[in-house]
């Protein structure tokens, strides 16, 4: 048992970090929110080049997967840099098609998976559980899937876009009708599998969002002076930042543990813990920044607004906690 990232995994994270830092994601996020997805699409392609969208895709379909630990690693970086777009949904769609193929229905996989893996296809679909059924960024996506009962449909686009609390998230229902891709129990099983990947990716993204909120706030607390001293020397500020670090650092092992076991309870535990930790980080970041943190023009807002929607997407905290206990059958 060596519960530590391998050198390759660390290098993968570092190279994504470097690429996304150089790409100045805040510009892409603001453009995405303003209805111009082109900088985001350019970034999408670069992520695909290094394999991010191939991690849930099996090799026969131009993928490298399934590699859940690497996926979690990548999505922490996507969260840290605030990558816009239906990144989680694209992974979920790829996992869905891959599982369908594993169960014998490989037509849709053959047709659609290579495009996803290579980055040419941005896919989306509504979360499998509860919710109003919005498919994130369906207005931008190349491929909108919809699950209706035990049928998988290729939707003919989307209906009107509705605002999210995070302007870089665009909510729309898949349009009715379209093309039936598959039906029956294999679809139901594949939807469940896709949900697991989405939960994992969302948890990772949440953790990354929380880490950036903490990093930026620590940096601000070291700079900002009030009452003649850096505010980071006030014990109330220090302790709140310490508690935020604790929340994030105990979410991290749950995330990678879930990537390794892929068990429903572990996935749910990672999701609720990372989601709540990111929200804690958001509250901390806002309070310590004060009024400046409450403005949309500071880039901090790009992460602040993401924390809560990610906490609730693909399984609210309540849903996650229910899953933890449903599956519980004793310690270790």
């Amino acid at each position: 048992m060596r519960f530590l990232a391998t050198r390759e995994q660390r290098d993968f994270a570092r190279s994504l970090d470097a690429m996304l830092t150089a790409a100045r994601t805040p510009t892409a996020i603001r453009a995405w929110a303003a209805g111009d997805p082109s900088p985001g699409r350019a970034l999408w392609s670069r992520l695909a080049e290094v394999g991010v969208f191939a991690l849930a895709v099996p090799e026969p379909y131009e993928g490298m997967g399934p590699l859940p630990v690497e996926l979690a690693t990548a999505f922490v970086e996507l969260g840290r840099h605030g990558m816009p777009g239906p990144v989680v949904e694209t992974v979920a769609a790829s996992a869905l098609l891959a599982e369908l193929a594993r169960r014998g229905e490989d037509g849709p996989a053959k047709r659609l998976l290579p495009g996803i893996a290579m980055g040419g296809t941005i896919a989306t679909l509504p979360p499998a559980v509860g919710g109003p059924g919005y498919a994130l960024d369906a207005d931008v996506a190349d491929l909108v899937l919809a699950v209706r009962g035990d049928e998988l449909w290729l939707a003919p686009g989307h209906e009107g876009v509705r605002a999210s609390a995070d302007p870089a998230r665009r909510l729309a229902l898949p349009a009715p009708g379209g093309e039936l891709l598959a039906a029956g129990p294999a679809v139901t099983a594949a939807v469940a599998q896709a949900g697991g990947w989405a939960v994992l990716a969302t948890a990772a993204q949440s953790l990354g969002v929380g880490l950036t909120l903490l990093d930026r706030t620590v940096a601000y607390a070291k700079e900002r002076r009030q009452f003649g001293t850096e505010i980071g020397s006030f014990q109330a500020v220090k302790h709140r930042l310490a508690d935020t670090l604790i929340a994030l650092e105990f979410a991290r092992p749950l995330l990678f543990g879930a990537a390794l076991t892929f068990e429903s309870a572990d996935l749910a535990a990672a999701k609720v813990t990372a989601g709540e930790a990111a929200c804690t980080a958001a509250r901390t970041a806002l309070q310590i920044h004060g009024a400046i943190g409450y403005t949309e023009e500071l880039d901090l807002s790009l992460w602040l607004r993401k924390a809560r929607p990610l906490r609730d997407a693909w399984g609210t905290p309540s849903w996650c906690r229910a899953r933890v206990l449903d599956a519980y059958d004793g310690g270790s």
Binding site: G131, Y294, T295, E296, S301, D312, P317
Partner: protein
């Protein structure tokens, strides 16, 4: 000790309720942080004023009803229970007006208050500066003497409502360069026109993008002597004297939270009374009641002549944390539909997040509570 109302108070409440029932718009107005919504809210202020409900606690000669604090609290309960619009005039009414009553000349009051009461002039506050958030004493914007008045230069920020308001008030340095030992000296309290030459208003979007406040760039903006409040150099004392009075009770009226808790219970019941969130819904009801009764006690002390001092810090921390908790509970009740919530829950949540920051951060308030109410030693913070 009692909690009963006099027949006159009950009649006052009934009159307010009836007027509100007849006049409150059936549909919510557009957000007051938009140009369209600002105008609609200004019209609503005029309508309130026409019914003499815009400033019930003021003397009649300025447009009020001379209501005491108990009636003011009753009015607020009715106002929020009726689902009436947010008050676009609140900066003027809650921050500037008390200062005018305490420190202005009769000429200034007669000139400023009536148009504030009708919404004809909407006021923005101009306290903070980029380098001076919580540490207000370190202000550097200056007012320099000129013939017949003063010339303001410098930068103010977090000026609520300034994106669309008419005039503003704040304190400016008129004394010698900042004396680090006595930073509160040499500040002067002034009113100025946001459309005067030399004023540049740059709206700032808050988290949801709405321009809830603005930066003000001031370049030799002329302010006539008649718009100085109190003595030059006394601005700090004047500004602080109003933060220690009933403002501590009036910054957020209990009626607001009683109405919000009521909406929350309705949301919870409509969703099937989720047992997992029951305790938090109950806490919202209990908290609103606690705040109502705490305020009633404060009002009774105030009415019996006591000053509202550091205990307004208890009030500030309580309501600001309460407000966030209430909205978080509502969003959790909405579950995965919370993301697309707007209006009372979505915009209300964003608004609540400012509570622990503005009007003295909760960290500062807790320092004040510890030092002034508990007598703990001053630390370096």
């Amino acid at each position: 000790m009692d909690l009963s109302y006099t027949p006159e108070e009950r009649a006052f409440r009934a009159e307010a309720r009836e007027w509100l029932r007849a006049h409150v718009p059936a549909e919510p107005l557009p957000s007051l942080e938009t140009e369209e919504g600002f105008a609609a809210h200004r019209d609503w202020e005029a309508e309130l004023a026409a019914g003499r409900w815009s400033v019930v606690s003021w003397p009649e000669r300025y447009g009020g009803r001379g209501a005491d604090i108990f009636r003011w609290l009753l009015f607020e309960e009715e106002y929020y229970a009726a689902g009436a619009p947010g008050r676009v005039s609140q900066n003027g009414i809650n921050l500037l007006a008390p200062t005018l009553f305490d420190h202005a000349t009769e000429e200034q009051r007669a000139r400023v208050l009536p148009s504030m009461a009708t919404g004809e002039v909407i006021w923005a506050q101009a306290w903070s500066e980029p380098g001076s958030g919580s540490d207000l004493a370190s202000l550097t914007s200056r007012a320099v003497r000129t013939s017949g008045g003063w010339l303001l230069s410098g930068q103010k920020t977090w000026s609520s409502r300034a994106a669309f308001a008419d005039r503003a008030f704040g304190i400016f340095r008129t004394g010698p360069e900042t004396d680090p030992a006595r930073p509160h000296r040499g500040l002067t309290y002034l009113m100025f026109d946001l459309r005067a030459p030399g004023v540049t208003v740059r709206p700032i979007g808050r988290l949801d993008g709405k321009p809830a406040f603005a930066e003000l760039f001031l370049d030799e903006v002329f302010v006539p002597d008649e718009d100085v409040i109190g003595e030059p150099g006394q601005g700090w004392r004047i500004a602080m004297s109003t933060t220690g009075n009933e403002r501590g009770l009036m910054l957020r009226s209990p009626g607001r939270f009683l109405a919000a808790a009521d909406r929350l219970v309705r949301l919870w019941r409509a969703g099937g009374e989720d047992r997992g969130l029951r305790d938090r819904v109950a806490d919202a009801v209990v908290g609103a009641r606690a705040y109502q009764l705490f305020t009633a006690g404060g009002a009774a002390r105030f009415a019996s002549g006591a000053a509202i001092g550091a205990e307004s810090s208890l009030n500030k921390v309580f309501w600001s944390e309460y407000d966030i908790a209430l909205h978080e509970t509502a969003l959790d009740l909405l579950g995965d539909e919370a993301e697309s919530a707007d209006g009372e829950w979505g915009e209300g949540y964003v608004f609540s997040l400012a509570g622990p920051i503005y009007a003295g951060t909760n960290e500062i308030q807790r320092d004040i509570i510890a030092e002034r109410l508990l007598g703990l030693p001053k630390g370096r913070r």
